[in-house]
Every structure is written in C-alpha cells, then in structure tokens.
Symmetry: C2
Subunit: 386 residues, 2 copies
C-alpha cells in the first residue's frame, strides 16, 4: 500500500504499532536510566524491528540485547555493533555468531553458566580463529539458567573464560524473570533488589579474586519500573516496555494507553444464538498466550478495543482461538453492538509472543498508517546459507 493510508486499507489480521506511543515509552525508559547513570541495553526480542531499536537506544550507547542469532544478524546489518546474545551459547552456533562479528564488524557478547561449556566455547572460538566476549550468567532467583551468586562455580567459570586466549571475560549478567511470578509492585520491587544484589555480589567475588568484571548487567521491564536501587549495575536490559501489553498492565508497569501494539481484526460473523462474535484474529495472529488472563478481569486471549485506539468495547474479549478464528465474548449489549465487517483491535496478553506471529508492524500515527517496519523471525543468522 501507499503511505499514508487508512486502517481500512490494511488486510486483516494485521499487527499495528502506534508510533507516538512507542516513542514515548522508549524515551521514558531511556530518561529513567540516564538519570540513574546506568546504561540501557534494550532487549529487542520484543520488537524485533530496526526502527524500534533506534528509538530505544537514543541517549544511550547503542548496545542491544537479543535472544537469537537471527536477531543479532538483523540488527548488526542495520549498524548495531554491540550486541549481547542473552541465551546460553552453545559451541555449534559460534560459527554463525562469528560470521556476524566478521562481516558486520560487530561484537556478539555471549553468556555461559558452566565451566565445562565455557571451555568448549573457548575451544570452538580458537578453532574458528576468533574471539568472543563472555558473561557469566547469574541465577538471581528465576532458576532458569545461571549460577547462584555464591556458587563457587561462578569463579571457576569466570576463571576458565579469563584464562582462555580465545575468550574475554566481560562480566556478570542476570535476568530477574521471576518478577513475572508476581503481580504486586511491592513484591516486584523486592525481586528487583534480589536481582541487583545477585550480580553486584557476584561481581564483587570476581574482583576480589583478581578477575575483571566490567559488566554488571541485570534487567526485565517489571524490575526496571518497580526497582528502587540500581547502584553497582553498569547496564539494564528491559525489552517489552517499548510496546507494553496486558501482562504489564496487570503488573502496574503501564497504563492501557501505553500499550503500543495491537492486532487489527475484522468481525466475520455475529452468532446471536450462541452469544459470540467471530473475528479473523485466531491463534496464528494473537498466539495462545494467557499471561494476563488470571490477573485482569474478562481478558482471555486479549481485549477487544476500538479500531482507532485503546478504548475497550465494554468487556469484549477473546475467549477461544482456532487457527484463524477468534471467538469474542462479552455482555449481550456489547456483542449486539458489533456488525459484520466492523474492525476492532486486539490488545495482547504478551507483546513478545503476539508480535512474533507477524513479519512486520504497520505503523500508525494520527489515525493514519504511515509506514511498515519489517520484523526478524526464526533462529538462523543467515537463511540463504541454511
């Protein structure tokens, strides 16, 4: 389509991003961490779009966090040279990571939580004739990957990295993902402090042992927003704050009007005998994520809001998803108000997972569709090579 266009020109389902809201969200977080004196290294696993990476790094060093090598390659090609791949590195992927380093003059920072694996990373880096910066991952309470800060293996792993000529010890890194286990800001603030202390203490142990530890990295959106202390940290890695979603509303991280992402959908059918309406946003357009469903009333797979913004239509929401159909339910009056071919937006439970259903954002500003931003998907750094 030609820009600017209207929302009625888009084929549905379509992923929308509100330009003014993503700018505001990005600027607010950048400003918060600028005033805290902590570098922002935004996690681009949520937006997976170059234009959002540019907005999110304004006023900061330009470093990014990614979850896949496909993201690393995509952002490196767009000029981002300092990228942390915040998922446990495995030797089999180092050739692809190094290809990005070499062809894009980028640095791909890795994470490791095991001395044996760190040694294997070093051996593979040496075989490739390259060098990687590696962070020791600390488990601050999420219990996904990482080592407890006081586990002697932290120092052992760091020692293996530091001693290996093909590796450079970058520092320590953690993700307070257990903040997602709570909807209470006070509890999330407590977790934020746990997250901070875990890496600050781990960094202290390494420095006491004479090991370098330039990077002391933590981060999630809930802990970025509800955390009170950030001293001792050198960087923070929130991501979903660029777009926000119902799960963040449920955690008091944002207001409804701060949600920058939605799925535009068309009403296909009214089923008055069955108390529902059918829309063309199903599981492949919305995802089956239910992150906020237990915490916000009448949520299901997402809220239905007006075509032109985040104004909810009564309590309408998606209660069931087939592959290409969404089942909308709500009060009889709200359902009665819907007409076939009417357009609505779905506000998602979890922006990262819903956005990943789509290969681009349609960019909305002032009620017009003004641009289309490609998103990266998959895991391969170079599909042509695959």
């Amino acid at each position: 389509m030609h820009f600017p266009g209207t929302l009625d020109d888009l084929p549905t389902p379509a992923l929308l991003i509100d330009l003014d809201v993503v700018k505001r969200n990005s600027a607010a977080m950048a400003s918060r961490f600028e005033s805290l004196g902590v570098a922002l290294r935004p996690h681009l696993k949520t937006a997976k779009a170059v234009e959002v990476a540019r907005l999110a790094t304004r006023g900061h060093g330009g470093g990014l966090t990614v979850s896949t090598l496909a993201e690393a390659a995509f952002f490196a090609q767009a000029g981002f040279r300092d990228i942390t791949w915040a998922v446990t590195a495995v030797p089999a992927r180092l050739a692809a990571a190094d290809e990005i380093q070499r062809t894009q003059a980028a640095v791909i920072g890795l994470i490791a939580d095991d001395p044996e694996l760190a040694g294997a990373l070093g051996a593979e880096a040496a075989r490739l004739g390259t060098r990687f910066r590696v962070h020791v991952e600390i488990d601050s309470g999420e219990h996904r990957t990482g080592l407890a800060w006081d586990d002697p293996l932290v120092r052992t792993t760091a020692g293996v990295i530091h001693a290996h000529p093909a590796l450079e010890l970058a520092g320590v890194l953690t993700h307070g993902g257990h903040a997602y286990g709570s909807f209470d800001p006070v509890e999330i603030a407590r977790i934020a402090e746990e997250e901070r202390l875990a890496v600050v203490r781990a960094a202290g142990r390494l420095r006491e042992a004479g090991l370098p530890c330039d990077v002391v990295s933590a981060g999630s959106t809930p802990t970025a927003i509800h955390g009170r202390r950030f001293d001792g940290l050198t960087e923070f890695r929130p991501g979903v704050y660029t777009l926000f979603d119902l799960a963040q509303v449920a955690r008091h991280c944002c207001r409804i009007e701060d949600i920058a992402v939605a799925v535009l959908t068309t009403v296909l059918s009214r089923q008055p005998r069955h108390d529902r309406a059918i829309v063309d946003a199903g599981a492949l357009a919305v995802s089956k994520d239910l992150s906020a469903a237990g915490a916000l009333p009448d949520t299901g797979y997402g809220w239905l809001v007006a075509r032109d913004g985040n104004t909810r239509v009564g309590n309408l929401h998606l209660e069931q998803l087939d592959q290409e159909h969404g089942y909308a339910t709500g009060s009889p009056e709200d359902l009665d108000s819907l007409r076939p071919l009417q357009r609505l937006r779905v506000l998602p439970n979890h922006a990262c997972i819903t956005a990943a259903c789509h290969d681009a954002f349609w960019v909305v500003s002032g009620g017009q569709v003004v641009d289309r931003w490609p998103r990266v998907s998959g895991w391969e750094a170079d599909r042509e090579d695959a």
Copy 2:
C-alpha cells in the same frame, strides 16, 4: 547445509518432518477416501508446504483447502489450480483473491453464511470484473461460523449467490470442528454423522428449491478417521492427518509413531537443584498450545522424545515455556539422564500451531536430513505488493 546431512548439523530449534511417515499418513487417507468414493480436498493450513500438498493429493483431483490467501497464492504458484478458501470471505480481500485467479489461472472457492455479505461479495466481484465460486457455509454443531442446515437463511443466501451474475453457487460446506470437544471415538463418530447430515440435508433443501449444489463438503481429521458414513458427500477436507500430533493421539486418530512432525532442540542446562532441564525450544518454537495436555498424562507443552525418533524419554515433557527457553520436567532419573548439548525432539500438542512457528521443514529420512521444504506464513497474498 548440504544434503544429506545429519541432525547434528542443524541449528536448533528446528522443525523436522519425517518423510516416510508423512508419505504413509498421506497415502492412508487418500486410500480411505478413494475407497469411499469421496474426493479428498486436503487442508493445507497444517503443513503449508508444496511438497506435502503433492503427497496429500495423490490419487485425488488435486483440489486443496486453505485458510489464508497467502496459502492460496503459494499453492497456486506451485500449480494447484482448484483451491477452497475455507474462512468467511470478506469483500475487502476479493481483489487479492482475484489476483491469484487471474495470474495463476486458478479458481479460489469462497464461503459465505449471510445473504447481505453474499450480496456484498457479488458487488465487489462485479466491480473487479471477475467471478467467484461460493459455498454456503453450514454450521453442523461447532457454532463458529455458518448457518444451521434448517435455517431459512441457507436458501436465501444460496439464492443471492445463484442470482448474482458475478457469483456461482458451488454448493454447501461445513467443518465438524466440535469433534475437537471430545476425546472419545464413539462421540466423535456421532459428531461425524451430525457433520455429514447437516450438509447432506442442506444440499437436499437447495436442490428441492431448484438451486444447484454440486459440492457437498465436510471434514476434519477426527471425523475423517472415526466417521462411519460418508454417503451424500462429494468431498472431505481433513488436514492435520498429514503430520498428526499429540492432540490426535489423544483422540485415538493415530499412534505415536504416526506423528511426522517434531521440534529438534538442544539441552542448554541441567538444574539439578531445581528438578528441571532447560532446552532451547521455547514459546516461539513450540507455541503455547495445550490441546492434548488435559487428555494425555505428563504432556504440558509437549513430550520430549529421542533425537532420532518418537521414543519418549521416560515421562519428560515441557512444563513451562519462556520465549526461547523450555522447562523440561520428569522423573529424577529421566532428568539425570540428560546432558548439556544433548539433542532431543519435542512432539507437539497441535501440529498446525507448532509448525506455524517455523518457516521451513527440515526433511528427515533414514536418520539423515535430506531436504528443506519452505512453508508459507502470514496472510497477505503478495507481500511485495503490500
């Protein structure tokens, strides 16, 4: 990569398809409907791959069912000329559908369940200077879209289609999707008969009224397998049988060894203190679909099976998914048996939704990776145009 390769050459997570199993599944269903004298019009929303469409149409007329215009364009470009788009058609998408008809010499069959919308489809088709074949959608009990067979609107809608010079009345079509509400073969057989009777009776009403009704179409995989009578039907539209999944095992539609699809994953970390192992197949590789979780023991977001096939590793399964991490749980012995960097497969709850996370199948035969089959995704018929 070069073919043949090994499973260890693949980056993970990776979507696998077992060539011999998909061939066997396709041949069995084709043979069943050949002997029943009913045309098979396989639904390609599951596999979304040309090679599977070719296997699934062998011995039948080559007609396909699709759920998006992106699929319609993809398969038309590959030479499939007779395609039913089995989701309620809306006027705004007819230009894209007609583009496929014109450029590929294909026929895109539509469905409608409302006389007013049927009229709007006719008006748009006339404006485009084209013509569409349209089926009246019947609701056989799923209550998603469609009209009850005895609703007077069936005849009204058919009449509007038949009378419009830009439309051709193809017949009637239903989807017994409520078969997914049951795990009991006897109950599914009852639903299959309900599905059959709904369209056969609707077709009878139209013929009594002097309207043409060449197509009498029904179909889902559970009703294809557990249904006992198919007389009066002209075609059947199952789809997931090509790949099968745990939800089909739970409905006694197939055995574990008939599941042709899996996600190859790598163990990233053992967390002995926390009774889990972490693998690199998360929500974006597996989906958050839980279709079989309530019906099969120890299922969660999918079973973990051996790297080389569908042999389960004890009761290991994915109990939680983050974006790029899967949390594997099971007996202490099964967890103890896992080693970092070990490769496993995830058998999915729902093949359609899991496969849609990936842009290609890696094709496995005889323990080797022998090919890569691209999959279509998204909704736009022509992204370059978008």
